[in-house]
């Protein structure tokens, strides 16, 4: 599968970190995100993903055959994770999105940030797939 460069970069980076620095890394992603703020006007119920403790919004756009995602959360760590997911899977085709699976989430080694957050990541992946594929259908 092509075009997963950004994703592979995350996988690489995370695999080289220990728990403490991995945590910092995710918070950094959230901080970077501050420079490219998610507009308040997009924080609407229609963009909100349910089922998380923190609020999560994800916006989807299709340009040609490619899908692009932007997201945000009101909690910093979740915000970092959302950023990781939207950056990872933006620029994919419908077919590529259809092929994403929980193995992708598993590959992102979150160390001690696993489980609940992994569940949250799965949910995000599902949501991203839903957005991408609904558009395709």
């Amino acid at each position: 599968m092509a075009n997963l460069e950004k994703f592979e970069e995350f996988v690489d980076n995370l695999s080289q970190l220990d728990d403490e620095t991995r945590f910092e890394y995710i918070l950094d992603l959230a901080r970077k995100h501050r420079h490219d703020p998610f507009p308040a006007s997009d924080m609407t119920p229609e963009h909100e993903m349910h089922g998380c403790q923190a609020k999560v919004w994800i916006v989807h756009e299709q340009r040609g055959d490619m899908h692009y995602f932007r997201g945000h959360s009101d909690a910093a760590i979740v915000n970092g994770l959302v950023t990781m997911m939207t950056d990872s899977f933006s620029g994919l085709t419908s077919r590529e999105i259809a092929e994403l699976s929980i193995d992708h989430v598993r590959k992102l080694n979150l160390g001690s940030l696993t489980m609940q957050r992994q569940v949250g990541m799965m949910a995000m992946l599902k949501y991203i797939k839903k957005l991408g594929l609904a558009q395709a259908a």
Binding site: H50, G51, M115, Q116
Partner: protein, 420 residues
């Protein structure tokens, strides 16, 4: 998660297991009753638990316990993981298409009641028909009677033969345009009969009826594949599967569960709550209100792992061997009649004695350390059909052996001497 001992035992999948070795996995089996070794022949009522199950629950309480699903801290994540892993284990055990088709309940009874109270209340109306059989357990009779009182549905009862088989012709004749559900035991707890569930499902589906199978007994004696059987709901109960008390499960087809309203209301099963309007969580949580039986779900999963470690087919072969022996040995006791002689049966020997009342038999053989069940076995209509008040039922678990049958036979001979 099954013990190392049981793993090493599975090297040759076809060889029978060493039952004496297996027995050492079950602490209670070395108990003495009135100074005599326990002979436990009541696994159909509730099975004993292997050490791995007991220890797994102890460990969870001692090292990883917290409430599930809502905590963001380590212990809660561990406990949630155990609980959801248990769901996956049950789903795999029944070969469910999706993990979220497994709903944890207190027991098999609740699994059936859940279907009656949600699917039944929502989709059945006056005059709609449910077909059950003459040999159902009360758990698969009373919920439908309660629905009948409320909705005016009609319950039709498929007859069995004197041997305890379903009369397929008569069963088919009961199916009609108003039949909405066939709710039937996969295996009888009184007679041991295993019903031809694939045929039953085919006939029911042919007229558009759904099928609920009460698998509380069957799942303990054979591999169950709900997709292969083709049924729509399947109920199991943990304590008969060598798991703890307080846990059971309903498997239901995703699209049916999705269409059903929730059963109980509370935490876990909601999405958003306001005083005006509340929306439901997705499957399976929609049906699991409140704090679930966390540790018991884990215990059940470990029990299923244990069974799989021994091998379901090997367990069945072993039990069938003991069952055959029991038929011979007990059948040779004068004045004792075995009821339930269907060719397809498992694990259960129900008996009538002309020399003593079932109650007296139980009392006397208890003093010999032999535990069997007497009474109507929560199947009063079947008792009426058979024209008896009570039977003596010996049931065989994976840890029973021929000696247990010998002990029972000797105890019964003693009863004959006392009362005969």
């Amino acid at each position: 998660m099954s013990g190392v001992a049981s793993l090493s035992r599975t090297v040759d999948d076809n060889a029978p297991y060493d039952v004496e070795e297996v027995r050492t996995d079950f602490p209670i089996l070395s108990e003495k009753i009135y100074g005599k070794p326990l002979v436990f022949l009541d696994s159909a009522a509730s099975a004993q638990k292997p050490r791995v199950v007991i220890e797994a629950m102890k460990n969870l309480y001692e090292h990883e316990y917290a409430n599930v699903h809502r905590g963001l801290y380590w212990l809660s994540e561990r406990a949630t993981d155990r609980f959801e892993q248990a769901r996956r284990t049950v789903a795999a055990h029944l070969n469910a298409a999706h993990d979220h088709e497994i709903v944890f309940t207190r027991n098999g009874t609740e699994a059936i009641n859940l279907v009656a109270a949600t699917w039944g209340r929502t989709f059945l109306k006056a005059g709609d028909e449910i077909v059950i059989s003459e040999l159902e357990h009360h758990a698969n009779i009373v919920p439908w009677q309660m629905l009948r009182s409320e909705k005016g549905i009609v319950i039709k009862v498929a007859p069995i033969t004197d041997e305890g088989e379903l009369r397929m012709d008569a069963f088919r004749a009961l199916l009609g345009p108003r039949t909405k559900l066939v709710a039937i035991a996969h295996m009888s707890n009184v007679l041991g009969t295993i019903f031809p569930v694939k045929e039953i499902v085919a006939s029911a589906h042919a007229i558009g009826a759904k099928v609920l199978l009460d698998g509380c007994q069957a799942a303990t004696h054979q591999r169950v594949d709900v997709q292969d059987i083709g049924c729509d709901f399947y109920a199991i109960t943990g304590h008969k599967l060598y798991g703890p008390s307080g846990i059971g499960a309903l498997w239901g087809r995703e699209e049916l569960l999705d269409a059903m309203p929730p059963y109980m209301g509370g935490g876990e099963m909601i999405d958003k709550v306001s005083f005006e309007k509340t929306t439901w969580a997705p499957l399976p949580h929609k049906f699991e209100a409140g704090t679930p039986a966390i540790v018991q779900a884990h215990g059940l999963a470990v029990a299923l792992d244990y069974m799989n470690g021994l091998g379901l087919e090997r367990i069945a072969r072993h039990e069938n061997d003991v069952l055959r022996y029991a038929n011979e040995r007990l059948g040779a006791i004068p004045g004792l009649r075995i009821i339930g002689t269907a060719p397809s049966k498992a694990s259960v020997v129900s008996m009538l004695a002309d020399f003593a009342h079932a109650h007296d038999i139980a009392t006397v053989i208890d003093r010999e350390g032999v535990a069997v069940r007497t009474g109507n076995h929560c199947a009063q209509p079947l008792m009426a059909r058979l024209g008896v008040n009570a039977t003596v039922r010996a049931s065989i678990g994976l840890y029973n052996r021929r000696q247990d049958i010998d002990a029972l036979a000797e105890a019964l001979e003693k009863v004959r001497r006392v009362f005969g």
